[in-house]
Amino acid sequence: GLFVWRLKGAGTRHIPCHFGHLCRAADDRLITFQYFNFLRRMYVTQYNKDLSQRAKPKSDPVASPFPELQQLDREKKVIHKMSPVSPVHQPWPETSGRTELRGVKSPAETEASATAARAEPREDRQWKEMKLRLDELPGILARLSKIKLTALVVSTASAGFAMAPVPFDLPCFLLASLGTGLASCAANSINQFFEVPFDSNMNRTKNRPLVRGQISPLLAVCFAASCGVPGIALLTLGVNPLTGALGAFNIFLYTCCYTPMKRMSIANTWVGAVVGAIPPVMGWTAATGSLDAGALLLGGILYSWQFPHFNALSWGLREDYSRGGYCMMSVTHPGLCRRVALRHCLALIGLSVVAPVLGVTTWTFPVISLPINLYISYLGFRFYRDADRSSSRKLFFCSLWHLPMLLLVMFTCKKSVLDKEDKGDLLAKGESHGRAMEIRLP
């Protein structure tokens, strides 16, 4: 009782903080500032809406600022709602889930919008009973496990599976995909479990189930365990132990290394890039049962891709990161941020050339992929030189279509499995693989 009144009082009286009077005075001036921000954001939102309609295979749970596609649907609806709303009110102009480049919502805005919002009955501004409703559960769990991101992780794993130089084995493929999906769900749930207060403070993530109290932390952990354990078991027993080990390692890396590291050191980006690189490697090992150079190449391509993708995205989120206490290159080492992005764009070209050398693809691959690789490198260079919002956005959007296109081209240039010289070898491999499968699955 008392606790509630204190909070309510704080709301109306304006502030339990020392700089109250300053905050209040700043409000009026800030309101006009916010209005312009809002108009800019409106424009960006509409613009982004068109560009982000396509879902792209993206590999990973690298960072919480990562565009979560689960927001996409909700935000599409929200974008339509925005026109009748008063200008000062900034509901969720979270640009479509793909980019939160404008994801800045300073606390002062909250105040300005809160006053306007009181006039508007928003479902979110009401008190809700913390009871678990079974009919809402699937939706809640989907958001908890970042289901759309999981789907993209699974698709990169499938790409890894498809690129492996062995005959396609459907049961194995399905098991590997399912196992990877479950592992990804588990990892994402634990990530959200760890980050509740930080997610509440960042624009892009404040509608997550744990933040909104739609599910209890205990249930989230149980769900994660009930996804992770069967997922890894499925991979270890139904596919092969190597894939299972990689899956378990990836979960560990994401939840216990990457998530805490986000707040400790900029090295988290590199760890996150590894997290994103592992699924295709898992796909490959699921198919072949061994860690070949080809697997590492595919992992390397995804690893390098993460940098232009993430660094460009994080360039626009600097305010939220700074306030939330996240140690990201874009905030602390901006020069490094841009250099690394450019470096890895160029690395992609190099890796594309290595592909035929390792026998993963034919020599047409580096040739066909050269234009798109050059283009992203060009944008990377522009980002490096200009270091502004527009170049970062261009680079980010490019990375969204670059990866699927690259993987597609790679697949079409895949070196034929039935090469006459290797036919004998591959048949033998396929047979032993099949036999191993029979032993495991009675």
């Binding site: 403070n201 932390p217 205990l218 602390t332």
Partner: protein, 146 residues
Amino acid sequence: PPAHSHNDWIGPPDKHSNLRPVIFYVPPEESPLERRLREARQEAQACNQRFWARHNCAFRQEKEEFIYSRLKAKGLEMRDETGQKATLNAEEMADFYKDFLSKNFRKHMQYNRDWYKRNFTITFLMGQVALARALRWLRWKKKNVE
């Protein structure tokens, strides 16, 4: 929240801390374990609220000061001729963000450790409470059947 409700209620995000306050339901026969859980949650909530409200206010405040000092250094006023509020672009603000982050690094480290500890404790207590309740329910069921 209505008086007859047997659940916790969660409210809209707080203006300053962006966290959602929870009103905890106190059942009439609350076991000591359940009381420990509720108190842990209340304490965590209060702590989080304090931290973030203070932190966000400080951020807002320092941002204003920074904008003001930079504009002054450039010889501009807070408002230009048309009365619009003068702002700094993202590149100029970058220095502020970098500064703010490094200044608060230690504070965040402390808070992180604290938060992780609390989170684990609360979740573990929730597990214990859930288990206790399940056993109680089973015992009740057995008694009813006899």
